[in-house]
């Protein structure tokens, strides 16, 4: 299985936001609410990662509720690919 790196996921995240006229900040500590990155945006990003790797990424919602920053998103998806 091909895994995407943290940087590659960050690039995809930037594309998801750019399509909505938003900008992904450089700071991994940026708050998702301030960035305007919502739960469905997270789904879109996860599905884009799936497209790239060819592997389904399934997960429960409680894990998502702990995600608050850009770095949390990247960490979550990096970890999810390894499961």
């Amino acid at each position: 299985m091909t895994e995407l790196s943290r940087a590659q996921i960050r690039e995809l995240m930037g594309q998801v936001l750019k399509n909505q006229g938003k900008v992904l900040p450089d700071d991994d500590g940026a708050d998702l609410r301030e960035v305007g990155f919502r739960s469905l945006d997270f789904s879109e990003l996860a599905l884009r990662v799936e497209d790239e790797t060819g592997e389904e990424l399934n997960f429960d919602a409680p894990g998502l509720r702990r995600i608050a920053t850009v770095g949390d998103v990247l960490d979550f998806l990096v970890e999810l690919q390894r499961q």
Partner: protein, 253 residues
């Protein structure tokens, strides 16, 4: 098709021997407890017999039959029903309570998990119902069925797509069964709102407070508030049939 009109004037008596699926914890355990305390005979199964259920069975050895059964294992449920009837007498009440939950967005729920939720929450209770009703009809008995569904069957909630589909399916089956069984078996559903215990497991205090504020009665539903409705449907003479009764403090209204 032969006439399906109901036989007039013959009422369905209160249930005396009730089978409860998923009776080991939460609402199921509360229902088993209440029915035993009300003097009924109760057969209860769950995937795992918890110490609480075992203790309850020990306290009522002559009026209870408890075992570890997976509701999706049809052969095991058939064996349980036979054993329960051999010990307690013919089953004339069924509470379909066993179910698995969900907390994942539909697009991120594995296909195998969707299949498991449907098998446990929809296929299995339909098959258990079929099994129990066949025995009731073959022996010329009347009976009552209570399906424990959910407010999810009637209102939309993210993260509960497959779960909602199964509960909506059981609400629909409740109506059709009530028609099909022509008054020989009363079939109803009880649809609780979210329980405080399950909500607190996945939501933060802020979100819980918001939900409570939107609930006219000012509190989330507790199993103890659902139990009397189940007992009423099993025991009282009401002519309620084919209904899904929501118990949620009007949160969904």
């Amino acid at each position: 098709m032969m006439s399906d009109s109901a036989t007039p004037a013959l009422l369905v008596p209160p249930s005396t021997v009730v089978l409860v699926s998923g009776g080991s914890r939460g609402l199921g355990l509360a229902i088993v407890t209440d029915l035993l305390e009300s003097g009924l005979k109760v057969a209860a199964f769950a995937r795992t017999v918890t110490p609480e259920l075992a203790k309850l069975a020990d306290a009522h050895p002559d009026r209870s039959h408890v075992d570890s059964v997976d509701v999706t294992d049809l052969a095991a449920t058939q064996a349980f029903v036979r054993a329960a009837e051999g010990r307690l007498g013919p089953i004339d009440g069924l509470v379909n309570n066993a179910a698995v939950g969900q907390d994942s967005l539909h697009v991120h729920t594995a296909n195998a998990d969707i299949a498991r939720i449907i098998e446990t929450n929809l296929t299995a209770p339909l098959q258990l119902t079929r099994l129990v009703v066949r025995r009731m009809l073959a022996q010329g008995r009347r009976g009552r069925i209570v399906n424990v569904t959910s407010i999810c069957a009637q209102r939309g909630f993210p993260g509960l797509v497959a779960y909602s589909a199964t509960k909506g399916g059981m609400d629909a089956a409740t109506r059709s069964l009530a028609r099909e069984l022509g008054g020989r078996v009363l079939v109803n559903a009880v649809a609780p709102g979210f329980f405080a215990s399950e909500m607190s497991a996945v939501l933060g205090q802020t979100q819980l407070d918001q939900i409570v504020r939107r609930t006219p009665t000012g509190h989330l539903t507790e199993p103890a508030e659902v139990v009397p409705v189940v007992r009423l449907l099993l025991r009282d003479q009401t002519n309620i049939n084919g209904q899904a009764i929501v118990v949620d403090g009007a949160a969904s209204i």
